[in-house]
Symmetry: C2
Subunit: 230 residues, 2 copies
């Protein structure tokens, strides 16, 4: 096949945007499906073949993901899925707390019946997945609940940073494989947080969120490391 005229699909599949963006999305998706796992080396050609594109857009996508901290990069040795240490996970939880506590203060200044409705919907989606014992995707539902009140702060950058931090933590935990352990408590805690927000009680909301994040962290840390955090 060497020397063949270069090929290119007729239309660029508008929904996908360009190939770099498509590759970026697909590779990130693969990370969250644990299709590629922390520590694993990523080979350009493999992705190129898998995604049906050349190495150029793969290269672009990987350099972005590395810049975001999802991948490690060593010159001439390529990319690996970042394997986060316990210490790093601690740091990410610290930031998550700072972001959420900061966001909730702004969010409560801007509550509206519509927003509360949306938040309640998210809360119920998580609840439902627990009731029906659907473990798959539950971590994402939790993320959505938290993202929802962060979003209420109406600061898109803040939401972006929140998501990035949350996703970086997620990648550490391979949470989908974990036992369901704390989900009943989570349902209750979400309910309390929702209540504090709807009552516009900043102090209470912050206290509850702090406890909620730390309890989740402790649970995860003991599940993964066999010990509490720090």
């Amino acid at each position: 096949m060497a020397g063949t005229k270069r090929e290119r699909p007729k239309v660029s599949n508008k929904t996908d945007g360009n190939r770099t963006q498509m590759a970026y999305r697909k590779i990130k998706e693969m990370m969250f499906n644990y299709d590629i796992v922390p520590g694993q080396r990523l080979i350009f050609v493999d992705f190129a073949n898998r995604l049906g594109v050349s190495r150029t857009p793969i290269n672009n996508a990987l350099s972005i993901l590395a810049n975001e901290g999802f991948l490690d990069f060593i010159p001439n040795q390529g990319y690996r899925v970042h394997e986060i240490t316990r210490e790093e996970a601690n740091h990410l939880y610290e930031i998550r707390e700072i972001i959420e506590l900061g966001a909730i203060e702004l969010a409560i200044k801007k509550v509206s019946p519509e927003k509360l409705k949306t938040l309640e919907t998210q809360k119920k989606l998580y609840e439902k997945s627990v009731m029906q014992q659907v473990t798959r995707g539950r971590f994402t539902l939790d993320q959505e609940f938290h993202a929802c009140y962060v979003q209420m702060a109406e600061n898109p950058y803040l939401t972006d940073y929140f998501r990035e931090v949350y996703q970086r933590i997620f990648l550490r935990h391979r949470i989908e494989g974990l036992p369901v352990g704390r989900s009943r408590e989570v349902v209750i805690e979400h309910k309390e947080i929702f209540k504090a927000i709807s009552m516009k009680d900043v102090g209470a909301a912050q206290k509850l969120i702090k406890q909620h994040i730390r309890a989740g962290k402790d649970y995860i840390f003991s599940a993964i490391f066999g010990q509490k955090s720090i």
Copy 2:
């Protein structure tokens, strides 16, 4: 020259890392020197010629910078330096406040004589530039003072996020061109903040930092937009 054998310098100039990273750094530098300005379209070949490399590493560098929010990207229309709106600047200041107030709480838990010494040095560097009326680079010195106490929190991710936010604000302001206006007050405020930190008074430090950030913001907003923030 067309069809000439492709060239490549003998050694890869270890200090520069690879070409992509070099391009990334240089282009960012150009942004902060206002060598390229908000709204300006960035042409691949221009950078390639300017930096003496091909379009490939430029492409990589630009896609990273776009992902970080410094550039806007429109498919098939290339990259432009992001032109931040007043609203966006407000959002960035909100995040900056959240990050710094969160960081200072952690930082104060971890103060040590050495760290205070470093912070004092940074404080004095800014002071000196005001005394000697060196306006060039003063904004960077301010950043370093703030980064210094954020760094005391010993959370590298937090420092990264702080720098990113601060730089994104900087890009908006073209601050180097602004009148020196508030710098005498800044010196005093830095002194007060330093004092609160060295006395491990979290509440006072947070209050002072909040005021400091807001005063700076108001000054900048009125200098740029001719009106106070919001």
